[in-house]
Symmetry: D2
Subunit: 338 residues, 4 copies
């Protein structure tokens, strides 16, 4: 059996295990340990700009804490209608923001086009009866495996500045986007990203994500929000250890490259079935329910996407850092034979 259901089925990377055990001695709790105190510096170096990095336990917590400082309870946050925060987080954004509204927009590949956002913003009456937009949340890479180009990011940044909106990036697969674009991490966030959910768990970690705060004036509030949300771990050194193991020494990009490479193998081999261009580590393949069943009988695990008004039935195959070329090729061969 090979499990392509999600990159979160992956095990923990050996280097992360080593870092965890190296952290295994008494130290001060609640982020006052030696490892946690390095996070800010390490991320500031990674991004070439002063920033604050807070360790939290889940991607949902990273996203929702990141949003909690970008919009007031009476405000709105624009996101794609297929965004993880809208579809998969059980209403958590509403909880962490005390009721801010997700304002949904459409766009190919789960990307938000600037012109769609302009029209949407123009349609919101500027009075107290309507919830006003205060922020935009984008996923990089998106839920459909697409990656915003640097030009698109620059255009979104310009829009946000023009409209006085704050920007959040859901980077559960930020590493895959960086690997896919082949550029410096800085380039993905320099156009106005205020808060970034920097994913580690899908990429070799155990249970720590980094919430990176580029607008450092928000950091103090976020520290209180993290505590109040039950996300400040007493043995925080074990979270910092995971994150540092991935980020110091480039393991995070290497893992993402491996995952992307597996996706590209499948994409290349199944080009005529691709529902979305493959920019990172997710592959959506058009296939009938019967074909899906056939694949599963051969031991390939994956999630089904139901047909919609505009797209046929499909399977979603996500590559973790641990998926080997052989496993990707085995999947490709099996699809080819359907």
């Amino acid at each position: 059996m090979i499990n392509f259901c999600s990159d979160n089925v992956a095990p923990v990377h050996p280097a992360v295990w080593r870092a965890l055990q190296a952290a295994d001695e008494p130290d001060f709790p609640y982020g006052h340990d030696k490892l946690s105190s390095r996070l800010d510096t390490v991320f500031s170096e990674l991004f070439g700009t002063d920033c604050i990095a807070l360790a939290v336990g889940t991607g949902t917590a990273a996203n929702c804490l990141a949003l909690s400082v970008l919009a007031p309870p009476h405000g709105g946050i624009i996101c794609h209608e297929n965004a993880h925060i809208e579809v998969e987080e059980g209403g958590a954004p509403s909880f962490f923001t005390h009721g801010a509204k997700l304002i949904l927009a459409e766009g190919e590949g789960a990307k938000l086009p600037v012109e769609v956002l302009e029209r949407l913003l123009d349609s919101i009456q500027p009075h107290v009866h309507a919830v006003q937009a205060h922020a935009i949340s984008i996923s990089q890479a998106t839920e459909f495996g697409r990656v915003y180009t640097l030009e698109e990011l620059a255009a979104l940044g310009a829009l946000a500045e023009r409209r006085q909106l704050r920007l959040h990036m859901d980077g559960a697969r930020f590493a895959n986007a960086v690997a896919g674009l082949g550029c410096a991490p800085r380039e993905l966030v320099e156009h106005g990203i205020a808060t970034l959910s920097f994913g580690c768990i899908k990429n070799g970690g155990l249970n720590a994500e980094a919430l990176v705060v580029f607008d450092t004036s928000l950091a103090d509030r976020l520290r209180y929000h993290r505590k109040r949300a039950g996300q400040l771990q007493s043995k925080g050194r074990y979270m910092a250890a995971q994150i540092l193991a991935l980020v110091e020494g480039n393991l995070w990009v290497e893992n993402a490259r491996a995952a992307n490479a597996a996706a590209f193998i499948v994409a290349e081999a199944c080009r005529d079935r691709l529902l979305h261009q493959v920019d990172a580590n997710e592959v959506f393949l058009r296939m009938s329910v019967e074909e899906q069943r056939c694949l599963r009988r051969q031991g390939f695990m994956f999630f089904s996407r139901p047909a919609t008004a505009t797209s046929p039935e499909a399977g979603r195959f996500v590559m973790g850092w641990h998926i080997t070329e052989d496993e990707a090729e085995a999947l490709a061969r099996a699809v080819a034979k359907l």
Copy 2:
């Protein structure tokens, strides 16, 4: 340096490490893995009654999720004025309950006496202008290292039933209470406890606590609350592994016994300085600021308690599972020499 600041400075127990690494293979996310699916059964056996156990990442999350189903947003939860949920959780109970009020009561050793609760309840006007009490939260062991006796727990249970209040137990140090009382875990919860925060982190775990739900009608809501609070980890198998390593095979009680034993060594040696009777693994010793400074210079780390209207300055010494008899004796000797 020996660190007595808290039991959460302790490292992770070797058996927990082994269990973590045994869990290190691909498996389904979000609690659908093989280990997570065993939690309910294991805790039902431990307590001799059907219950549900949910893994969460921090003690604050365990407490506050546990409270979130016991009182409505417009209601109140009675707790001791020194309770962790009131003093140390950054307002998290208010966040998770959407604003329920902590109604504070006094009592020696951070224990809630039934007669105090009766008077407090009588003083609340039964109309919409006053926040009504819906639940009581007790800590076992308490924040001052005291343990409710079985008789006291029975009396609290009877009160709660009589007054139609729900009961929560903050068991961050439940293991220490069980070890201290030398009784079956069941005996601590059988008098009406609806939800229990079963502490693991302070007792050899890494970053998983178990939220045990004895009123199983609340479990479905709690599963949604856990997700919405960003506490449902994708790689949940690593949380379950920690918890199971402690609970299956009695390690949790052994660790607590070791911690308590260290506390008893210090308590015995410093009897005339004790601020509170030592029932578990916390020791509060009266000592001047100068004496505290002297101890710290010798490499003993601990927290200070400022003088209050009713008690002098003191140091708080908490024993983790890892504190050896030698270390406890070293502390005792140093205090004796002050």
Copy 3:
């Protein structure tokens, strides 16, 4: 100038003024006065069933309190994408429900068709990652001036029971719906409506709406919610006076009939411009921006509806209880001459 912008531009009915002044003597506050204590009985008689009626200060408060007991914070409430609670209440439903999600559905005339609801409900994955539907809110009459037939209400009630959903009716224009259907008030709510916002302000009142609770098990929570939301007025007798003046003696239906009659005059005369069938007191007329400007120059005030993908530009004309036949005919003539 004649103002058709909304029925809330109307003055207060003389009978309501008389009732207000008759209430002008010292009495006990917070609903313990003689008038407030009659509300439950009067509404129970009106609807032929035991119910509770709570006076509140705005339609938004009535709607949102009504919803606050039908869905938990982690749940969802299905409503039309043009529903007042979604479009015009500044996020209030999210505030009063502590973050419950409005799940949007489409339907002609702002009515929710059962088959649309079925499909929507089927599309919600029954797991913690998705917000589950707990309730449906319908507007009667709708925001587009349409009225659900008794058959449609029965079908919605059956759906709600089948799917275990609670039903709320936004009856800001309930009187207009009753007048339009020509049936007993009971018939509009007997198919499972749990809470009804019974509009008075648009229909001759000053600033009191009645929140009618048919599921009386919810009344106690609602009383606490009302207080906690700052909606329990100390001089509640003046709210009760308004409501009683309208409901005792049938003034509420007479006022609504007058408003509907004015709408029918316009509808009849402008049949070829009607955007929606006129069932109550709102008339939507297709007209260009230039035509709208021309009407306004003649002293007719109204709101514009921008063109959408499926409908052209239009003007919205709402008839208050005070609009005379002459005024309606004047509008009709002016439109005819455009």
Copy 4:
């Protein structure tokens, strides 16, 4: 029967009735009417400084909206343990602030002494585990009928500035305080009051209070909060009419003077029974339960205060604007005869 239970048992003042009926013509809703648009100017003149005034329906709403912009959800608001917001508002402050904590302080006559506040502030650990104070709320006049002197207000303002705390004044009886001090309204708020609940209902109004915002940078958020809380009335002109009738032409001070005068009559006559000095329109008289019963049998209505650790049983007598000298003297005589 004469009802001294509260000043909210009073009827509406004739001048307010006249203003209400003068407002009785069609006008634009939601504060866009002619009367509402005058509020800012009228209050700016009254206080001799630019400010914004928002009409709301209850004192609870005025207080809680006023607080909602002074402390974040994770913050705390210091108030007296007998403050109305703590004791009588059913948890509304927690609702409107999304869970901010009321941090309670003691002080004679329900006044907050600066030195008590200093000690309290010093006792709050400045880290994320403790809820930090962000604001102070004082009642003027207090719940025990006392009035802060101008010196005390200046000292509180200095403290607030020194400690970077925002100041709210619950002025449900602001008029009585102004009348009691015999000074200009400006003098009560010029030492840093950011938001003031300016009471009208107890002082001759029907159901409108003014929320006066001196820190005008907060006004925009407050307008959204008011809408989202269901406190923006469609027929807002009837609220503005009440407020303007009281404030334009000094009726508000005259009414308060009359109420205070009645209180002074009783206070003078019953000097030896006074529980609190009488600075405004509330009189607390020590009297046994039997004496209270006797008074009630004679037709005097009032609330009882139970004995506490530091004070004996008492009756609370509150004078509305409508209480005549004869009525006050009748009460005084009846008490004298007890």
